[in-house]
Amino acid sequence: MSGFSKEFKKGIVISNPVFVLALSLCPVLAVTDTLDKALGMSGAFALVIIASNLIISLMRKMIPDVVRIPVFVIIIATFVSIVEMLFQAYIPAIYSALGIYLSLLAVNCLILGRAEAFASRNKVSDSLADALGMSVGFCLALILISFFRELLGKGGITVFGNELFTLPVLAENPISVFGMSMGAFLVMGLLIAFFKQIGVIKDV
């Protein structure tokens, strides 16, 4: 069991997929303008990476080495299509808010990277732990970025229609640039710089 928890913890801080590895930036920056979208994307990401890591790890002895990348891509794209249909059926509001970024999970470097670097060479339980750790790390990073962007860009935090709190002055005069693309780059850059300063991230 110690192997399981080691692989699980690794994804959260030491090799956090977003801040340390700086992979899969496209969904991270595009869907973090509100907390709702960030949570929806994290859910989709977790479903896809867990399912594809599991399948690839189970099939790792069957997949010929030469064609492994196309096989991984097809497996991942299949799960992305399934998740897309599930979202469209059960949470249509989140589905339309995420737009093409949900489909773009299929070419997410992080998911493909874990398939290639981990799931295809490790046993099923370790691959599952790796996928879970990466999902939690990804989810935490998205929540952190979208928290700042929604707080500054909208002046308050609203999760799935429930208003948690609003700030007095900012709510009337939100800094709308944080909701736009510029805010995404700025918050991301400052967060990485902060983590480097306090020593959580060693070298990028």
Binding site: G99, C109, K196
Partner: protein
């Protein structure tokens, strides 16, 4: 005619594919250390987007829609892009070995570049006709090449400047991208 022009300008400047839609960030952060390779990368991506969006449009309108199998479009697009990149790789290896070497791993990574698949998905979402989707792919390619060139120019200057220790590496590139995105925000005022 003006509609085609506004599609082109829309993807190249106003809704710039990299800075506003966040597509294709990996090569922008990875290959943008020097101006020459960055521009070549931009042109290679433009070529792949152009050819694969042509094929994707044909596949979508003549195979998937008649068969009512649009849910398969993601997988079909990935196959088209993957084979186009493979062909480009073979072609470059034979004709221009130096360029091939300077791309390194990033050439194969065009296959999983969100800019390429993103444009194909956008074309399908907007249900553009054939000419419109060609123009959209050229606009996206131009926008991508422009950002690659600008970013590598700025990074060549950044090499020589004195940056606080915590900001070195990725953070300062993100801040640069933020300022560029703000500047590109000025194009929103362009209306046709």
């Amino acid at each position: 005619m003006s509609e085609l022009f506004s599609i082109f300008i829309g993807l190249a400047l106003i809704n710039n594919i990299v800075l506003v839609q966040f597509l294709g960030l990996c090569p922008v952060f990875g290959v943008s250390k020097k101006l020459g390779p960055a521009v070549n990368m931009g042109l290679a991506v433009t070529l792949v987007i152009f050819v694969s969006s042509t094929l994707a449009w044909l596949a979508n309108n003549y195979i998937l829609i008649p068969l009512n199998a649009e849910y398969l479009h993601l997988i079909i697009y990935l196959l088209i892009i993957g084979s186009m990149v493979q062909m480009l790789e073979i072609f470059l290896k034979k004709t221009n070995a130096n360029l091939y070497k300077s791309f390194g791993i990033y050439l194969a990574l065009i296959a999983t570049n969100c800019a390429v698949i993103g444009v194909l998905l956008l074309n399908a979402d907007e249900s553009y006709n054939f000419i419109e989707s060609l123009i959209a792919s050229l606009g996206a390619g131009a926008g991508f090449t422009l950002v690659m060139a600008l970013m590598s120019g700025i990074r060549e200057k950044l090499e020589l400047s004195d940056i606080p220790k915590a900001m070195k590496g990725l953070p300062v590139i993100f801040i640069t991208a933020a300022l560029m995105a703000l500047a590109f925000g000025g194009f929103v005022g362009m209306l046709f």
